[in-house]
Subunit: 233 residues, 4 copies
DNA sequence: GATGAATGAGTCTTCATTCAT
DNA sequence: TATGAATGAAGACTCATTCAT
């Protein structure tokens, strides 16, 4: 199709072609709906070769997940310049994230939608990557918390010791979930709403998130009003 | 299994049984992996009957989406008591949302994961519902913005009037998108993470979001730092 | 092919048709070489129906083995009239056996060749049947041994009683094994060699075996010569 | 595995390695289930080389059959010392046969099971070998018959002229079949029954067979009883 | 003498869907 | 209202076999 029928290439190259085709197909059709036939054809090879190199549909999908997770993490990591303030680093991370996922919609679909929708073998694969990102954000938040309410400080990197973490662990995980969810929604929305750039979307998200995080750190959480005669259910 | 082999029931009832079975199956297995056989068996009817009432797999799935979307919207609507402060209304809405999705994990999986993962016919179906909810949130934010910087006030609906809205219209829309996206992600996460109650999830999100909104309203937005000699890739 | 395309038959009937086709195909092509396509076509049904009724190739093959084993055992059993002399009963059993296998070459191929050539699931299935037949023969030999050296007698069931059995127990078992093995081989050979009737095969085997047994009973066993300076290997 | 990766060996050697691997694989997996991949790997060579030397799967299998048949015949031949009595020669032949097949289960599986299970090209290949063995046994029987009832004579080898053969040709073939079948069964049974040595099994078989043969030669065959009112279904 | 790269054809198996009653 | 009987179409996976070097 897109590529002339080039024959006899070294294995490593062919494998990448196959992964490209697989990511595209899985991302657009979904794991179940994607057929190995389609992937092979898109890769410009015969099906047996796909099986020879990547042993099964499951294994192929796993390879896709791993590759996409690695490139995403790498994109974010290399988008963030160390030694700057926490908020700047978050901002840079978000931009890198938005940019990469926007350029790689299929890869992102695999990581975010497909891998989660299909049982343990895959979910675990993504969890590892997610952990890395959550850890990244967590560190930023922790830095901000140590440096006082003003997350805009350019505080040093040290994961230094504060007696207590400002937030319980799974609260942080929840925040990361929320952040990613918000980012996704915004990205999709920005893609569809004319006049809204990806950069603007990122800024909106920073606005949305950063102050909230700041307030949390400063111990000014929003607190639920007392239940007043609600009849639940 | 669960139900005694009762025969000859009115159509409406049978249809609900089928939808119940379908929601459960689609939610757990995914759209593609769910088989009509399994659904029919779980519903306690023969396959031809399923086809007689709901004409195809696609159509059955659509019906599931519509039913689940309707009950979700209704749950949120009836969880919010009108005439109270904006933050309280948002809080109640979120609680209702998280509660409903927690009680209905399969239904939520259908709306959030499955419908989005499988092409246009279904995505559109969900978009309508989403729109409704986004509109609801947008209204709340707008009200809060109009009522002054402190959305935390439990004050009456209109306190002081500032002629201009504190926020440009599409900024509001973006925030609503972000909020809803965050909520969606959190719901999926809370369903899957043991030890996280619906109320906790709602509180986490309120903490995260409301302070950020507050800062925004008060004219203290986070603003992106000027780009300084970045060599973007 | 052979049968007019008759549609809509009760399940039990269709299953037998399928088994007929499967026995024929497995018997002629072998387990691995037989294709489900071929079987389905020969049975005059579509492949899915075969899978609906007999769940897999393995399961179908097992069903064949069981059916053929049962009919073979039944054929032998009903061919032997009780209450007659041991040699007559053996003769009748052999005749029934050879007749049945000659009329059912495919079934016999399945039991004798195919089932043994393909792993445990199947071998075990046949072993049970074989055990039954060996036990039957063992009993006959034991009776003959008890009734005195001349099994050729057409005498009544118990002539003279010698307290001890003329042969040690596992010698009897070995003879039964040998007899059955010889019969099995002869059956396969008779099926394949034109001009050899079941009756002739049975007679050959009786000739071969009965005299040997007779000599054994009468205490005239063949005994191996002393090893004389053999350099083994 | 077993062999160090030695490269560049003369063709004859490589061919034997391949045949070794093929015999093992065919013997254990069966003809159909054995894959050329597995054979090549086990032989420690690449697949194209296998095709270069032995042109196809069929041809490779044929080569296996021929080699195994030749070595089996040779083993039996060289196990029998000429110039001794007929019964001793049979006894020695049986022992050699048992020993060789026990040491070469894969080769024996190929000759006995696989070759027979898969159509003409292979069955014919085995038939030749079988013929040789049958001829060997036939000669022994003939010698015994000539020398009178006592097969223990050490009579000369000559296929010399007696007016009529004591037995019709295909009767002899049947006896050989029966003998081999009995031998096989006994071998399998001896392998599985504790307390029964291969030698004992061989003795049992001689007992079983020799007297029977003797009686046959002496014109004292077992004769079927007159049918008495059988209802032959 | 030897191999990495590649495939056409076929196998088992499953699924959504429909008749005929 | 309800179902037992039946299938066309497609999907994952494997295999014997061949180039090009």
């Amino acid at each position: 199709m897109g590529s002339v029928k080039t024959k006899r290439m070294p294995r490593a190259v062919r494998e990448q072609q196959m992964l490209d085709a697989a990511v595209k197909t899985f991302g657009q059709r979904g794991y179940m709906a994607a057929s190995m036939d389609e992937i092979a054809e898109l890769a410009g090879v015969s099906k047996p070769l796909v099986y020879l190199y990547l042993n099964s549909k499951e294994s192929l999908f796993s390879a896709c997940i791993r590759r996409e997770a690695a490139t995403l993490v790498e994109a974010v990591r290399s988008g963030v310049r160390p030694g700057t303030s926490a908020d700047r680093r978050l901002w840079e991370g978000l931009q890198a994230f938005f940019t990469h996922t926007a350029r790689n919609p299929d890869g992102w679909a695999i990581l975010h939608l497909q891998a989660r929708t299909h049982g343990e073998p895959f979910a675990a694969e993504v969890a590892a990557m997610r952990e890395e990102i959550v850890a990244f954000v967590t560190r930023l938040i922790a830095v901000a918390a140590r440096d006082g309410g003003t997350p805009c400080s350019n505080g040093a990197e040290s994961l230094g010791d504060h007696g207590d973490p400002a937030l319980p662990e799974h609260e942080v995980a929840g925040l990361a979930e929320a952040l990613v969810g918000a980012a996704e929604s915004l990205a999709a929305w920005a893609n569809v709403t004319p006049g809204v750039s990806a950069r603007q979307a990122a800024a909106t998200l920073m606005n949305f998130a950063w102050a909230g995080l700041g307030d949390l750190m400063e111990g000014r959480p929003w607190s639920p009003p007392p239940p007043q005669a609600e009849a639940p259910r």
